[in-house]
Amino acid sequence: MTEAADLAVAGLSAWYGDSQALHGMDFAVRRGEVVTLLGRNGAGKTTTLRSIMGLLRRKSGHVRFAGEELLGRLPEYIARKGIAYCPEERGIFSSLSVEENLDLPPVVAPGGMSHADIYALFPNLAERRRSQGTKLSGGEQQMLAIARILRTGATLLLLDEPTEGLAPVIVKQIGQVIGQLKARGLTVLLVEQNFRFAAKLADRHYVVEHGRIVDTIAAADVAASMSRIENYLKV
């Protein structure tokens, strides 16, 4: 698997101040795959994404992307290598209009989607392009947050709980979008608690507990492993 790995995370540990949040995460994502990190609140899923992105300062281990070690690099460098991050809280800027939000992330590589592509994918955003970013509904903000990083040409998307707190119809729409992104050949690392949503999309699931990977489930085995998975996720 490693020889074709797009993103290879090995022995990744991270700290918030004195408290350790990650205890040696090991996983890999191949080019064009959709892979999820599943787990309960506080398991370390978001911390993993933030560590990959360079947003946590105290960390050790390895994060290799396209063969290059990124651990210890600054976020602005990592972004320029083609990794894009969509945070859980969505991070829509209230002092920017929808279109300004959309245009904010700089293009880091050729091959990003054009405005026309994006508005075709998210028709709601086209209608509201002049609105203040945070005046959008929760679902629209989530779409904007995803749309924003499709323009840049990044090849690996880190999506942190894109379905959190959204209506089922919107969740379905976001699922379709992720499917289309996969069809375009993008690599997606998805953090989710909503397993039913993730199961339809992902090639592989990693279960995260207490800051490490405790199980790996391939898409083909999902049906057979249902009770195991529910056990991992139940509160």
């Binding site: 700290w15 918030y16 101040g17 004195d18 992105m53 360079g54 947003l55 946590l56 300062r57 105290r58 600054l74 976020p75 602005e76 990592i78 972004a79 320029r80 894009a84 991050y85 945070p87 991070g91 800027f93 209230s94 002092s95 920017l96 300004e100 245009d103 904010l104 992330p105 700089p106 880091v108 990083i149 840049t152």
Partner: protein, 652 residues
């Protein structure tokens, strides 16, 4: 036809014009301050000094041949200065950001203000050493000499140019920030710097350039101001306080607001000069107070940001250095010996300032409110005590009490206004309110302007004890100091004091416990003002003088410096700080104007390297030693050092 209540149209329009020109400078300066504040969360007190650098830069360029006679350099005129100086000042700004300001982004906001106050003192102090109070002349450029006769008045060409150019610069800045891609980066980074970095934008570099740009604007304003005002080391000192008031009035989050407010207040100031000249120096500060009552967020402000008070206290409550009973006894004994070791007047100065700093620490250290106007309480009490003692013949103790009463009342009023805002705004507001008192004292007749009230009689304590005897006076002052110190210790150890500390640590949580935090803050502020007044009134009797220095903002800065040097929020810190500062001022007196530079450098060094102050650091060391004694067998555990989230610039 323009005869308005006896004011000639020439005078009226003349004043409006002057007001408009001042307004252009206010707009350019407050624009820079607002951008730096918005992006970097730094209250850039050094902005005035940077404006002054701009004016001196223009003057230097003109006098290049005289300054470097051997090099055959040309004299570069106004137009060269207009281009080169803002770049040069901006470059200095970038360097300052890199060397100093960047270091405090992740710290409490208070440190940013303290650092820039120190930097301003260093820069202005150095220029003061070389140029003194005398202003340098800078002529209007030849191409802008002359003027236009508008019929009712003569309009100098240069002033038209300043208004037009200033407005164009403001409009262009507004356009860049609100309408361009670069501006979008800036606005986004203001909200969430981490995320903007995660998009691939070098936010730290952007912050440096933003600071440099804001500073460059100040430099440009300085060049434009050079032909109108005198080029002097002091030119930035008064304008920065006005600019802070303008930023408070305009409100945060609106570039447009900063520009409009600046212009408007300039005109209002001009009109006041025409109709009520005495009010011209204070009108902006009074407008600020009114705006705070009716629109605390400012005229254009979107909301008051819910900043926490600054928790920068360095004390360890269990430390022996926090035991007030013990130290009260030590001070009583040590204080009784002091006049036999040092000159009594010197010892009394220490005691007065130690009480002043301790009173200040009550607000800054224990409640976490960054007050920057305690000179108003110290000075007003000094004036009232001096006046009642010399003009009304009040007995000494009553004169001091009158001072305390006035300071307390003033503290209640200023506190009532200032607690509407938090963090840096609190500092700006208290600073501006204190300026009202200062300018009042400059103009009122009973304060004797520049001379102050001199030859104040020391009188007899309770009609018996002759305070003209140095030792009698000394022990009276010692008793006042001990009483004040005991009162402060009592306050901070009381249940009331515990609530104050909990406000400092987490105000929303304190509110949710059912405490009306504003009332606690107001009461603490008022008490602190009263105690500062006690120090000021006593000082007026000891030195037999009340002067403008007592009210000047540098006296507020002194209180801050003493508290910082000693250790913010520690019991002994302000006392130690007062001893250090007073000794330093005495020892360095021979250096003359350099003293202010040394004090500014002390500010900078303590903010960068010794934030806990002398006492705070000592308490840490004692605690560590006690810890080692308790567990000598245990190997020291390698605790990971703090330092977690990426230093993206603006702390959230």
């Amino acid at each position: 036809m323009f005869e308005l209540i006896g004011i000639s149209p020439v005078l009226l329009f003349g004043q409006v014009l002057i007001g408009l020109i001042n307004g252009v400078f206010y707009a350019m300066m407050s624009l820079g301050v607002a951008i730096i504040f918005g992006m970097l969360r730094i209250g850039n007190f050094v902005h005035g000094a940077q404006y002054m650098l701009g004016a001196f830069g223009a003057w230097y360029l003109l006098h290049l041949p005289d300054l470097f006679p051997g090099l055959g350099l040309p004299s570069l005129g106004y137009w060269w200065a207009l281009v080169l100086v803002p770049l040069g000042v901006g470059l200095i700004g970038a360097l300052m950001e890199r060397l100093f300001i960047r270091k405090v982004y992740d710290l409490e906001h208070a440190y940013g203000l303290l650092l820039t106050v120190g930097l301003a003192m260093v820069i202005e102090g150095i220029f003061n050493v070389f140029y003194g109070a005398a202003g340098q002349q800078y002529g209007v450029p030849d191409s802008l000499r002359g003027g236009v006769n508008l019929g009712f008045m003569f309009m100098p060409l240069y002033r038209i140019w300043v208004i037009v150019a200033g407005l164009v610069v403001c409009a262009a800045t507004w356009y860049v920030i609100e309408r361009t891609k670069l501006g979008a980066y800036l606005r986004a980074a203001t909200e969430n710097p981490d995320l903007v970095r995660a998009f691939g934008i070098n936010v730290p570099r952007m912050l440096m350039l933003t600071y440099a740009f804001g500073v460059g604007l100040a430099g440009l304003a300085g060049v434009m101001a050079a032909p109108i005002y005198q080029v002097s080391p002091q030119m930035g000192q008064s304008i920065i306080i006005t600019i802070f008031a303008v930023v408070v009035i305009g409100g945060m989050g609106s570039i447009f607001g900063a520009i409009v407010t600046g212009l408007m207040l300039g005109v209002v100031e001009g009109l006041t000069k025409a109709f009520y000249p005495q009010g011209a120096t204070t009108v902006i500060f009074i407008i600020m107070a009114i705006v705070l009552v009716f629109r605390p967020a400012g005229l254009f402000g979107k909301e008051t940001s819910a900043h926490q008070p600054s928790d920068i206290a360095a004390a360890r409550p269990e430390s022996i250095l926090e035991n007030g009973r013990l130290w009260l006894a030590v001070f009583a004994v040590g204080g009784s010996l002091l006049p036999f070791l040092v000159y009594p007047v010197f010892a009394m100065k220490m005691l007065c300032l130690a009480l002043f700093a301790s009173a200040y620490n009550l607000v800054f250290g224990y409640v976490g409110l960054l007050a920057f106007g305690h000179a108003a309480f110290y000075g007003s009490s000094a004036y009232v005590a001096a006046h009642t003692a010399s003009a009304f013949g009040f007995p000494t103790e009553l004169a001091i009490l009158s001072g305390v009463a006035v300071a307390t009342a003033l503290g209640g009023l200023f506190g009532w206004l200032a607690i509407r805002r938090q963090g840096l705004y609190f500092a700006m507001i208290t600073l501006a309110l204190a300026q009202i008192v200062y300018f009042y004292a400059v103009q009122a007749s009973w304060t004797n302007g520049e001379d102050g009230i001199q030859s104040v009689p020391r009188g007899h304590l309770f009609g018996i004890v002759d305070l003209d005897q140095p030792l009698n006076m000394y022990f009276f002052v010692l008793a006042i100091f001990l009483a004040g110190f005991a009162a402060i210790y009592r306050i901070v150890r009381s249940p009331f004091g515990q609530v104050l500390k909990s406000i400092r640590e987490n105000e929303p949580r304190t509110t949710s416990l059912g405490y009306s935090t504003d009332r606690f803050k107001l009461l603490a502020f008022t008490l602190s003002a009263g105690l500062a007044g006690l120090a000021g009134g006593t000082k007026a009797i000891v030195f037999q003088i009340a002067s403008l220095t007592d009210l000047y903002f540098m006296t507020s800065a002194d209180a801050l410096l003493m508290t910082l040097i000693g250790g913010v929020g520690t019991l002994l810190g302000p006392v130690v700080g007062a001893v250090v500062v007073v000794t330093m001022q005495k020892e360095l007196a021979t250096l003359g104007s350099w003293v202010i530079v040394v004090q500014g450098a002390a500010f900078v060094l303590f903010v960068l390297f010794l934030r806990k102050g002398i006492v705070g650091t000592l308490e840490d060391a004692l605690a560590r030693r006690a810890e080692r004694r308790r567990r000598p067998a245990d190997a020291p555990t390698a605790a990971p050092v703090a330092g977690d989230e990426v230093a993206a610039g603006k702390p959230r």
